[in-house]
Symmetry: C7
């Protein structure tokens, strides 16, 4: 199918192409890939969420381009893609989690929240008058055990042990697949997350990294110092592995 | 009718072509074929639903890509096609079954549920502002006897003794037609379902399979162990039949 | 008027062409012709409705592809064309007949029901945001005497003594016109209906046939046995008439 | 203005062309001309309405393709053009006449009814989301004296002494203009109406004709016998006038 | 700007062209010019409204193609252009005048009525979903003194001493400009109006003319006899002036 | 950017072009330039508003083409551009000023009124289903001191000491810029306004001019006699300055 | 991707292109760049906002083209881009800040306000029927400490230490990045802001500059005299640095 044929299906927000695809959803996936990568790792003790800030100017406050978001006591999210759309999904997540907690007197489960978000996303792909969201979220939380979900622009929730979304997703995911095991500690998970992100760009620095954990203790931001320490080790190993490259 | 002519009818969601076809519905059927196959077999004692999970990454939790869904005590569904659309139909099925049960004090019949779902689907094909659903469901249940229905993107419910939907449908359905008989036991039905799925891809493994039954005892998931056992036998037979192929 | 000119009028749901035609309605008529034929015959004692099921798979339950529908005690319908649209019209007919009976304490007349259905159909052809129905119904009933109406995609009701709609309509209707008389008994009507359907395809078998009658005794399904008996006679005669053909 | 230019204005339902025309209305007039002709003649004593049924099949019930419609005690209508649209206008006329009579305790005047109908039609030509009506009505009635109005697809009511609408309108109207006088009796009007219709097609037969009168005695259908008698005389004269033609 | 360029702006109902024009409004002006001319003359004692009926058939009742309309006791209108649109504006005028009179207990002023009508017209040119009105009105009335307004398809009211709208407007207006003076009597105004209309077509006859006056005595139709008398004089003069022409 | 490229952005009412422009707004500005110029001059004692009537016919009442409008006691407006749109903005201004005065018990300030009008205009440029206004207003008033605002089709209010809008704006504005000083008296302002308008067309006559002032004494129309006197002086000077030209 | 391909995505307000971009948002960014630059500098003691007025005419009142806006006691904004859109965002900011203060009894925080504004902007980019805002705001305020946010047409809020938006953004921002330090006093910030703006155009004069501060003392406009003094120094330095250029 050539470019002209594709365009015929792009103009309506939610039509199928002859081979059963919805191009606007596929293009929204491209929007997700335009952002920096974010990573989630589920460990025995909790979920690690790690993201690379896109450092466009030294005068930009790091906090305002955060890709990690506390949703509720035991719920966190990491976002990739079109930033304004991601913010809207995060706001939706916060309001939904809060409303549910007030209504039922207990925190919303990670799975319920993930499904509520993807229901919202799916509707943006089927009805006219709106475009899909050009952003995806990782939802990490701790109900009785740690759980990690990812959303995508079609509105499908998937549960993962470890996952990367955003730019350079394939490379980062490969590191996760090669190194993941089910008995990682939270600290091990942090190491793996940074190791994976390091893969996406050899010039990545610790300053660009944000890391948070969601465990039985709730959502916690990992201190910049600790991130720098761990990243230094990760970088050393990386260098050892690739002594002559680049 | 050439490609250019077709496109003229694709852009409006719900127009007829000169030969009386609705292309968006036909393209949605292509979306159904893009997914993995799912199978339903009605036996004397209940309905068997079997599906192949698409195993895209070892880190993906199997449970989150389930294609089998408990709808209510005595009602189950298997889905094929665009995953986000399928989830929406499954949610619709659950809410409808629940509402009806509360309203009338007894479970909704398989037939009534199937018709409610297809009414919903048909409307997505006739009115503007929305696209058809790119997903189909098998609805299995036990009212006084086992019943099995399939929906399609045009919004038509069909009752089947045994049926396959999704990718490689023709091959899988052929196995069902060759081997089905009305006096199958539930266990026989399980064997037939796996035998049929095995036909769709010679590299299929037991780990990718989900099976559930709906009988007088309600909706029950078949254990992975039992699935593996039965699949091993099925595979052996298959091998016996095709010793020199591939 | 060539193909390109036609397309200009197809895209809007309800515009007139320069020669005063509404193409979407004409294309919906093509959708009706894509289905199997159904026949209605009005006799002194009641109306005979007969249809050929499209037997796509031996595993498909015959009942779920029924083209004959009981609407109310003394009202039946036969449908041709896009199945999902036909189901919707049948549902509309049932709800309308039921509502009217509850409101006025007596059954709805065949004529009133036929007009209510065609009003609904006409609106789908004049207002934007929807496509026409790609299905037609025969409505048979018994008020004080037997009556038989047919609807079409433009929304016009016609009363007939005997009529065929659906695929091969012209051939089937020709048999009706050649053999109809006003003093047929219900059984004579059944013979004529099957004779007409037999004309549509020389490979038709009795198993594919559904027949129902609507008389002073209400809507009744004719038993498969009786259908087979009558069809055997009809087929014999047919063979006698065309000994050397095909 | 060539075909391509015209098409540019056809697609919007209600735009003006550079020369100040509304093409959809003009195309709807073509739809009116596609039907059989109907005639109205106002006489001293009442209005005669006459129409030719289009006899497509011997099995079609004449009554169901009637083009003459009793609207209320002293009000009748004859319709030409797209049948489903005509039915809708007739239904609108009946409901309007009935509602007005209930509200004011006296029958609606012919003029008021004609204006209510054309207001409805005009709106279909000015607002988006709908197409014009492809049908016209003659409204005949008796308030204190006989009156006869015709509607057209632009939504203009005209009062006539005698008028033809539908197919072959020009020929039929010419007969009316040549033979009309203000002192016709109701019977004279009937003769003139049939004479005019006879002009439209030399193969017209009495069986195809429907005639009704609206006088101080209300709406009355003329018996088929009387129509046949009068038509025989008319046909004889016609033959006398054109002994050597055709 | 060539034809193709123009068409680009025609399809949306209410867009500006690069040179700041709204083509649909200009095309609606062409629709006004397609009708017969109507004339208004304001005199010391009242306003004269005169129109030429378009005499398409001898069987058409003159009254039903009237272009002069009594709006209220002291208010009249003359219409030009698309007849169905003109009727709608006249109905709007009547309802508005009546509602205002009931609300405030005194007749609506000519100016207020003219502005209410043009507000209505302007909205049809700015908002989507509707086309402009293809008709213009002259509004004549007597508040404390005679006043005469004209509307146009853009929705602008203008007050005139004497004005022509509709077909051949330029020729007719030229006669008014050459012969108008502020001290005309009502009878002088009638002469001038007919003189002006006579200019539009040398074959105009008195029978085609409708004339009304709105003075302190209210709206009055001028008798056909008096119109014929005056027209005969006007025609004589006209002939005298142009003895050798045509 | 060539003509074809521009057209692509013209069809949607409110899209940006690749260089960040909204063409419909720019085309609406052209509509403003198609009208006659109007001028506002703010002096120590009040604001002078002056406009040239477009004198299309000697029979047109000057009052009905007024471009100066009293909005409230201490508020006046002058309009340029598409007349029907200007009327609508003036009506909006009057209703807004009146409503505000009733609500707060004191006159609306010139600035508040100007902002309310431009809010209304801006919305016509951002939301679909409507076109921008093809008209601009000068709003002159006296709160505690004289103030003068101009609106434009984008919906921006600007405060001016002296300003011209409409046709030949650049020439007229140049005269204002060359001759304006902050200590003008109201009479000086009148002279300057006429001097500026005289620049727009050497054939301008005093009869075509309307002038009003808004001062502590409220809105007052300047008498035609006084306008003629001042214009005569202005014209003399103009002639003196350009003795040999044209 | 060439021009034609881009246009295909421009016409719908909110569709993704195949590479995941939303062109209307990118074009709205161009609209922001068409305006004059504005600068924000966060210092220890407060935020400095500085803007260059576009001085189109000496008769235009400086106040009415202000780009600096007091939003609430401790909140200010500077705007760049399409002026009418900027006004609308500023009005939205004022109403939101006021409503929040009334509801919660304390001033709205800078961050909350910035997010409320960008939520509003994001919606204009996802739903049909509206275009994005062609304007951006700097929001400066003092909660417990000074904070400075910028919005953009995609609806993303960013927090900055110092930032420029509007025309020549890159040059101006470079000056800020070269000279910013965290320990600037409010007066230092003023110097830096003017220095940065001076970079955008060597012909900038002090008269064109507006400066305001938001500190613990609230929103305060810096006097024209002080601005002129500081600018003189800045200009001198600038000249010293570039003695031989231009």
């Amino acid at each position: 199918m050539n470019r002209n044929d594709k365009q015929a299906y792009d103009r309506g927000t939610s039509l199928f192409s002859p081979d059963g695809r919805i191009y606007q959803v596929e293009y929204a996936r491209e929007a997700v890939k335009r952002g920096a990568p974010v990573v989630g790792v589920r460990t025995k003790d909790g979920v690690v969420l790690a993201a690379r800030r896109s450092a466009r100017s030294p005068l930009l406050e790091a906090g305002s381009i955060e890709k990690l978001h506390k949703i509720d006591e035991g719920l966190g999210a990491a976002s990739a893609g079109h930033v304004a759309d991601a913010r809207k999904l995060v706001d939706f997540a916060r309001e939904t989690a809060q409303t549910e907690r007030l209504r039922y007197g207990e925190p919303m489960s990670v799975e319920s929240l993930s499904k509520a978000i993807t229901d919202n996303i799916q509707e943006s792909t089927q009805y006219g008058g709106t475009r899909p969201y050009g952003a995806s979220l990782l939802i990490g939380g701790y109900d009785d055990k740690p759980r990690l979900f990812a959303t995508d622009p079609s509105g499908t929730p998937h549960e993962w042990r470890a996952v990367a979304i955003g730019g350079h997703r394939e490379d980062v995911q490969a590191v996760l697949e090669d190194n993941y095991s089910d008995d990682l500690s939270l600290e091990d998970g942090l190491v793996l997350a940074l190791q994976a992100l390091a893969e996406s760009d050899s010039e990545l620095t610790a300053e660009e990294l944000d890391v948070a954990t969601v465990s039985a203790d709730g959502y916690e931001t990992v201190s910049a110092e600790h991130v720098a320490e761990v990243f230094a080790e990760v970088a050393d190993e990386h260098e050892d592995e690739q002594p002559d490259e680049e």
